[in-house]
Point group: C2
Chain length 535, copies 2
């Protein structure tokens, strides 16, 4: 049952999540898997249980109609949706809630809000859907600010213009995924950017965080779909030209894509679109082991076939999500087009798979129009969409449930993978007395994959945060030591900041700081994200 | 006949170019086309005719072995290969020659050179192959410097490592196109980046200028092939990680790609490679007019077929280059793969063409393995490779020969194109009493094409520079006014600076200046390019 209001403490709408029976089943499964007894599922926090700190700031009269200190809104804008966010919510700890939440309705409103923040030493935290899993929207800004304001973009949600000839559209940045796709559907167009957070995230958030979407190859990040963008900084509006391509100096767009609200607030963007696909080829295959499956992905990625889907699950990931029995790795493979039949594409990709021991479980089903919603692929799809609800129940019963994702070139992948798996098991053993780790590829490139690791481990209530942090730290250090990226598509936020700074070329770090000083001299925009706080 | 030394004044090797008979034929053709009489072909400059200014600086003793004030080297490092460069060379004007040319052999040499320049107020001009057509390597730095040094990267030309698994290789940046491809060939690998300048340009130059290469779709610029890069700045080395993809903050690589030597000198880069193609499908088609051909390109670009070649020539471009008779527009279409036959791809692309009135001239030849070297496609290929030699002969006979290239979204293209053609004719009429303009697409995207305009017009010897500049200015203003880019792949340099600054978001301009101050506080690197001189 949904109360038609978003949970202030977790994923999705109030009242939506696992049923009590599903939670009991999950708890029993955890008890069995980790030799635990008596797992209790804590009830989620209620608003009346939360003690919010007194709001330290008052809006100026001209902005008061846009601002609220309503407890629900302040609590709902305190956290993103990561493991430590959920743990703190279950601990009823909302001590870093923003002092105010503001809901601008126009660009002029944003300019006025940023002016006020700049002149009053108030940190402004841009807020899209709040789906960050990297503490990107958490108003944890250090002692240099008199207060914090969440700037919720949800009212800037207009479709400004649709250009069916160039297949592009100009949206305001606060538009949510479903509304964006609904607006395009009558024009037979689609952005086809479907991150796991799709339902509860915004275009501006996707661009600010270099979100990863629907396509497993070629158009993996939102980056490639941005034709131009417009953002408001404390020192003026920055707007790039609509261009299909350009060689005029370094790309302005690429500097702001991934700036995570540290340089300005994205208010609108022209996005490149696709026609809605009418041709589909889908298949699901099993492989004897994960490395064989990964070699098949490499062959397909290097063949120039560009499947929309070429995800693989290791034995654990397939088992944990009910896709297979734990003895095999699984691939879900898909091509789609609005223009042409895809037999030639799929047939060649299947050859690449067979070369590596890939098997289509039932003959005759290897290529269907709807298999992406059936069989192993369908099981994976359902599990993927429901995962955030499982995570919150795992946290509620005192488990640790975390994800780690990276990217690495192919020649280093086998050693990277083995080391990550071994070190993850080791740190879970040390910290938790055991744990479960699984891996999938979410995206693949000709020169390497983006491996995605999920862990589940028992912990002690009250120690969940610290135990989770120890594991997070160990695995993140391993990623960086082995040459990977700290994030392929989850972004940096405050959670990855330590490792991001190790990964980033030092000279580029200096450039980012210099750029922030130029655009945001008072240092009010999302302090601590991408750039260290200026105050 | 080649003297095995590069021309100091023009394209290619000494002794290579049009024969006297070819020049006479070209002159007659120009006379006939523009109602001229008695066109004289001036002889190219000889070194002994050039009065170089006295070199204003002396290298410190530790660097003197790397430096030369040899007249040939100074003259050869004065200009790039644009129309005004050729005109000034034919005028025997080398008054802005660099004071010294330095040839570092190691990164340490570059660090020492930049240290010397920083402490002595000397401008350092990074120099790859010198093929710039935008005054990108011209030591025209204003009065704030005690002297200028060209930093020729040709000795940093090593292949550092080849990774056949991830299909990537690490090259030093001074390697020339042919050497790079030769090193890859034994491994069945290729970068497939073949700009018109391929023979006489370097990897570092391609990256610094966002060079456009072989692929007409998808991988149009060098940008997509850069896996990581390393550059030396006056304040330290910047090196990014080898990653197939990342979402960790704004892309560091994308900030330096296109920085045109203003932020640092690229010394090496890991580049993404392809297997050498073994499957090819090629076709050449005629269309009743250019806009029909462009609609076919749009259909193909939006179909997700990703041809390696989908170039179109308007009637004038096809006629001028001997590809067709002037009554039809021409398309050269090609697919290539190292992995799979391409019938399905080509057949669908040909359908898109036929929908727009595209015709394959001779039945039975529409798809061949070698047609890219035969027929209309072959004629175009030969003309394309020989163009720089034609340009220098046109300049020698007092003509104006210039190119202008942009990119624009599809819905604006027809009006953009008509306006550009009309205004180009108008300004040529006003300035030269007439002229010839033609257009082709060099690259195409789902959301728009990159139209490329070539002009030829009569002028007066002695007034070539000024008359050319008037035309350049008018067409460039038109590009910017109509929303295009000032350059799709020729870069900015000093030639496009005025219009680049109009195109670039103002806030991003401030970022570039702030970044330069951080990396190059003495402002010695390629002053006036991308960022205004700091001194």
């Amino acid at each position: 049952m949904s109360n038609n209001r978003r949970k202030f403490w977790g994923w999705g709408m109030e009242g939506v999540g696992l049923t009590p029976q599903q939670q009991t089943n999950l708890a029993k499964r955890m008890e069995s898997q980790f030799n635990l007894t008596g797992l209790q599922v804590d009830p989620p926090p209620k608003l009346e249980e939360i003690k919010l700190p007194k709001s330290k700031i008052e809006p100026p009269s001209g902005l008061s109609a846009l601002c609220t200190n309503d407890p629900y809104e302040r609590a709902a804008h305190t956290y993103g949706k990561s493991f430590p966010d959920l743990v703190r919510a279950f601990q009823r700890d909302f001590s870093i809630a923003p002092d105010l939440v503001t809901f601008p309705r126009t660009e002029e409103d944003i300019i006025n809000i940023l002016d006020w923040c700049s002149s009053s030493s108030i940190a402004a935290i841009p807020y899209g859907g709040g789906s960050s899993v990297v503490k990107g929207v958490e108003p944890d800004v250090g002692p240099g600010y008199k207060g914090t304001v969440a700037v919720d973009m949800k009212h800037l949600d207009r479709v400004i213009e649709i250009d069916t000839t160039s297949r592009a559209a100009n949206f305001q940045a606060g538009i949510y995924g479903p509304a964006l796709e609904s607006a395009l559907k009558p024009h037979n167009l689609t952005l086809r950017h479907f991150p796991q957070s799709f339902e509860f995230s915004t275009l501006g958030g996707w661009i600010a965080t270099r979100s990863g979407g629907h396509y497993a190859t070629l158009y993996t990040h939102i980056d490639e779909f941005v034709e131009s963008l417009r953002l408001i900084t404390p020192t003026g509006i920055v707007e790039s030209r609509r261009l299909p391509g350009s060689g005029a100096g370094p790309s302005p767009d690429r500097f702001f894509i991934g700036s995570e609200g540290s340089m300005g607030i994205i208010t609108s963007a022209w996005m490149r679109l696709q026609n809605r696909p009418t041709f589909r080829e889908n298949a699901a295959l099993t492989f004897p082991d994960f490395l064989s499956a990964s070699e098949a992905v490499r062959a397909i990625a290097q063949a120039g076939l560009y499947p929309s889907n070429v995800r693989i699950l290791d034995q654990n990931e397939a088992w944990f999500n009910g896709v297979a029995d734990g003895s095999v790795a699984v691939m879900v493979l898909g091509f789609e087009s609005a223009d042409h039949p895809l037999d030639a594409w799929m047939n060649r990709a299947l050859e690449c798979c067979k070369d590596q021991g890939g098997v289509v479980p039932k003959q005759g089903e290897e290529k269907t129009q709807n298999q992406h919603r059936e069989g192993m692929a369908g099981a994976w799809r359902d599990a993927f969409i429901g995962m955030p609800y499982v995570w919150e129940s795992l946290v509620a019963m005192g488990m640790i449930s975390e994800t780690f994702e990276s990217a690495i070139t192919w020649e280093r992948f086998p050693e990277f993978h083995n080391t990550v798996i071994n070190e993850t098991k080791k740190v879970m053993e040390e910290v938790c007395g055991g744990g479960f780790v699984s891996c999938r590829f979410t995206y693949a490139y000709p020169d390497g994959p983006a491996p995605y690791y999920s862990i589940t481990a028992p912990s002690k209530k009250g120690s969940q945060l610290q135990m989770g942090a120890e594991i997070k730290s160990a695995i993140s250090e391993t990623f960086i030591r082995l040459g990977g990226t700290i994030t392929h598509h989850h972004a940096v936020g405050r959670y990855h900041s330590t490792w991001y700074k190790k990964q980033r070329p030092e000279g580029f770090g200096r450039i980012l700081t210099a750029a922030k000083k130029v655009l945001d001299p008072a240092g009010i925009l999302n302090p601590g994200v991408i750039v260290d706080p200026l105050r």
